[in-house]
């Protein structure tokens, strides 16, 4: 079981937990955090492959992760802003109740 596969297992598990969490919890913020976890799992993969797969130019993996982190930060900020706005409208952030945008 080479370390790369271990890392991938680690990231898959993390991804699965993130997804399960996002699906399970009804609270807006936690869903966002679940999403965050999934993104981190992806970053994890980047570094894993950077570490164990020399091929490409040395720094690309790290740079990709840095950019990913930046973008995720922006995304989280906007997500949370949305949640706050949602809260302002329905005084609670239970996503199951925020289903006005439906067919």
């Amino acid at each position: 079981m080479n370390p790369l596969q271990l890392c991938l297992v680690f990231s898959s598990l993390l991804f699965a937990v993130g997804l399960a969490g996002a699906l399970a919890r009804n609270n807006g913020i936690l869903v966002l955090l679940g999403l965050e976890l999934m993104l981190n799992a992806a970053n994890l993969n980047f570094i894993a492959f950077w570490r164990f797969h020399p091929g490409a130019a040395p720094a690309t993996g790290v740079i990709f992760v840095i950019f990913a982190i930046a973008v995720t930060a922006a995304e989280t900020a906007v997500g949370l802003a949305l949640v706050i706005a949602l809260y302002r409208h329905q005084q609670n952030i239970r996503l199951s109740e925020a289903n006005r945008l439906k067919g």
């Binding site: 997804l19 996002a22 699906l23 869903v31 199951s96 925020a98 439906k102 067919g103």
Partner: protein
């Protein structure tokens, strides 16, 4: 060139001016209208006398003055005035007789409220007639010809309140119009083949040598010469206007108009116009004489028609009861004799007879049926005297009266005509009949006792009417001497060639025969009507007693009217009916079918629309809407739902990839 012809246009212009002024004068301007009309005609009379003087100075020369009327593209339409003895004579005759009729109608029409309008029409008529006479171009002639037709319509239908007058005017107008159509076609044909309508144009004119020669060449199928065709067409116009055989039906009815009008139309001018036209373009008519092969010569046709007209006119005149209708038919028959000299003489005594009958009618409060007149000899002495002079001139009483000489000249010419003797016999028969019906007329009207209160109260007409009568009777007598065979002054002037005087009795046989015939006519007339004057208005006419059917047949104008009515009338009605049927059936049908076709397409359209499109579209869109709604139900708004769907989809895809990848 300041030739005398330059002033010719003044002759018709003056009456035209008077007509214009007359039209403008209100009804109460009676004196003014009459005054201008008479003055104008007097002026043109003087001018025509002057013109005659100049024409006679050089009889052979045809003085003309042409001017261009308007130009059509390359071609120029030229008109012109012509002066030669024939024109001048006609001018004098027309204006003189016209003037006398104007003066007569002063008295005759003074009780009518449309007095001014009457004189305006008279002047218009005179102007048109003079226009026909002096024109050098056939086109100008045609224009004034039409004006004459118009004036005659207006005058005949003067008392348009009377339906019979209006009908008569229309009838006159239409029949002359038919004739004019022939004239127009002739003119068009002529213009087409010669390129000009001028009679005399310095060699280029229609009647001049070169052009005439070209016309005479046998062009048409059947060996007809172009000139024959043209002249026949022109003759139609003439026949229409002067009441020759087929188109004479309007003339008796034209009596509806006031008597001076009848006099003017039947005696002096209108009828004379036809004969004048033939005389005018006589060279055209005689051009094909030389053509031996032609089956038909224009002149033979003219002579034939003339003979038939004369015979028929005279026959009908015998059976007429209406005073003016008798004279009308006598005019028809006299015109059959178609000769200028006779025409001039006839103009005078016929005008005289008409005016005399006018004064009789005027006196007898518009009573025209001779059966109810009678016994006027004592009451109207002057009228009786002048009427007797006119009757004798017309009948052709020998030696003293012009009628005899002019008729004599025609018979002499007819006997010399070798083509066929028919015209001679017809002429002689005409002489007998004319003498007979004139004496019948004289006896019925003037002799015997007055058979109606109107006739009883008749009294002599005022001086203004009797003076023109007397003048005309002098003319009727004097004119004869100008044209006697011994001293043919007039004829020579007319033809321009010096004709040698024949000894008076040279043609003795023929002259004697005619004298005998006249005597027979007069005698029989006197015998039937003079000795045993009609007792009562309702008494049957002696002739009628003899042969009632023939008499009534002749009385009805040989039922030409019925004939025409039967033929053309029915043709017309048939044409109208055909047109109506055609219109309703064919055209209406087509439109109806189109309409039905429109309905059909509309129906089909609606069906297709309703079934095909709507149903189809609605069904399809309905299904789309259903699908759309189904999809929208999928969108629950539930964020988790979406995520779950994503997850499941991911798993499925991954599985596929894996399984696919493995294999």
């Amino acid at each position: 060139m300041d030739s005398p012809a330059d002033h010719l246009w003044l002759i018709p212009a003056l009456p035209l001016l008077a007509a214009g002024l007359g039209a403008l004068t209100p009804r109460r301007g009676r004196r003014f209208a009459a005054g201008t009309a008479i003055a104008a005609l007097a002026g043109s009379l003087l001018l025509s006398i002057a013109a005659l003087h100049e024409a006679l100075a050089d009889p052979a020369a045809h003085l003309y003055h042409n001017f261009s009327w308007f130009d059509i593209g390359s071609g120029v339409m030229r008109l012109g005035w012509l002066l030669d003895p024939l024109n001048a004579l006609m001018c004098v005759m027309v204006s003189l007789v016209g003037l006398l009729i104007f003066i007569f109608s002063l008295g005759y029409m003074d009780s009518d409220e449309n007095f001014a309008r009457f004189f305006c029409f008279l002047s218009l008529f005179a102007a048109a007639m003079l226009g026909v006479v002096v024109s050098n171009s056939l086109l100008l002639l045609f224009i004034s010809w039409e004006l004459v037709g118009l004036a005659s319509y207006l005058l005949i239908g003067f008392w348009f309140q009377k339906p019979s007058a209006a009908a008569a005017a229309k009838k006159a107008f239409i029949t002359t119009r038919i004739g004019d159509l022939g004239l127009l076609l002739g003119l068009v044909w002529l213009y087409n083949s010669t390129g000009s309508l001028l009679l005399y144009d310095g060699g280029g004119g229609v009647l001049e040598g070169s052009v005439l020669g070209a016309l005479a060449a046998p062009v048409l199928a059947g060996g007809f010469a172009a000139s024959t065709g043209i002249s026949l067409l022109v003759f139609c116009g003439a026949a229409g206007k002067s009441g020759q055989f087929p188109l004479h039906v309007w003339l008796p009815d034209a009596m509806e108009g006031p008597t001076p009008v009848s006099a003017l139309i039947h005696a002096a001018t209108m009828v004379a116009a036809g004969v004048f036209l033939v005389a005018r373009v006589f060279p055209l008519f005689s051009a094909d004489q030389a053509l031996a092969g032609a089956p038909l010569h224009a002149l033979t046709v003219v002579a034939g028609v003339g003979a038939v007209t004369a015979l028929m006119g005279a026959a009908i005149a015998v059976a007429q009861h209406d005073l003016k209708r008798v004279l009308a038919y006598s005019t028809v028959s006299q015109l059959g004799y178609a000769a200028i000299f006779h025409l001039l003489a006839h103009a005078f005594f016929k005008a005289l007879l008409f005016l005399a009958s006018g004064s009789v009618i005027h006196a007898a409060h518009h009573e025209q049926d001779i059966r109810r007149l009678g016994g006027l000899r004592g009451r109207m002495r002057a009228t009786f005297a002048t009427f007797a002079v006119g009757m004798m001139a017309l009948a052709g009483v020998p030696f003293v009266f012009s009628g005899f000489w002019s008729k004599e000249a025609i018979l002499h010419a007819a006997s010399a005509w070798e083509v066929s003797p028919l015209p001679l016999y017809a002429g002689l028969a005409g002489v007998v009949l004319t003498a007979f019906y004139m004496t019948r007329l004289l006896c019925e009207v003037f002799l015997g006792a007055p058979r109606s209160p109107a006739a009883a109260h008749a009294h002599e007409s005022p001086k203004v009417m009797t003076v023109p009568l007397i003048a005309l009777s002098i003319g009727a007598v004097a004119l004869g001497f100008f044209g006697t065979p011994a001293w043919p002054w007039l004829q020579s002037r007319l033809t321009g060639a010096e004709i040698p005087g024949r000894p008076l009795l040279e043609g003795g046989g023929l002259m004697a025969l005619s004298i005998v015939l006249v005597a027979i006519g007069l005698g029989s007339g006197w015998a039937l009507y003079g000795r045993r004057a009609r007792v009562a208005a309702a008494a049957p006419d002696p002739l009628a007693a003899a042969s009632p059917r023939l008499f009534s047949f002749l009385g009805a104008g040989m039922r030409f009217d019925a004939l025409y009515a039967a033929t053309f009338g029915r043709l017309n009605r048939f044409g109208a009916a055909l047109a109506d049927v055609l219109d309703r059936r064919v055209w209406g049908g087509a439109v109806a079918t189109l309409g039905r076709f429109g309905e059909l397409t509309g129906f089909v359209n609606s069906v297709v629309d309703r079934l095909g499109l709507n149903a189809g579209f609605d069904a399809v869109s309905g299904r789309f809407r259903g699908a759309g709604r189904a999809y929208s139900r999928r969108q629950t708004g539930e964020a988790h739902g979406y995520l779950r769907a994503l997850a499941i989809a991911f798993v499925v895809l991954a599985l596929l990839a894996l399984i696919g990848g493995r294999r």
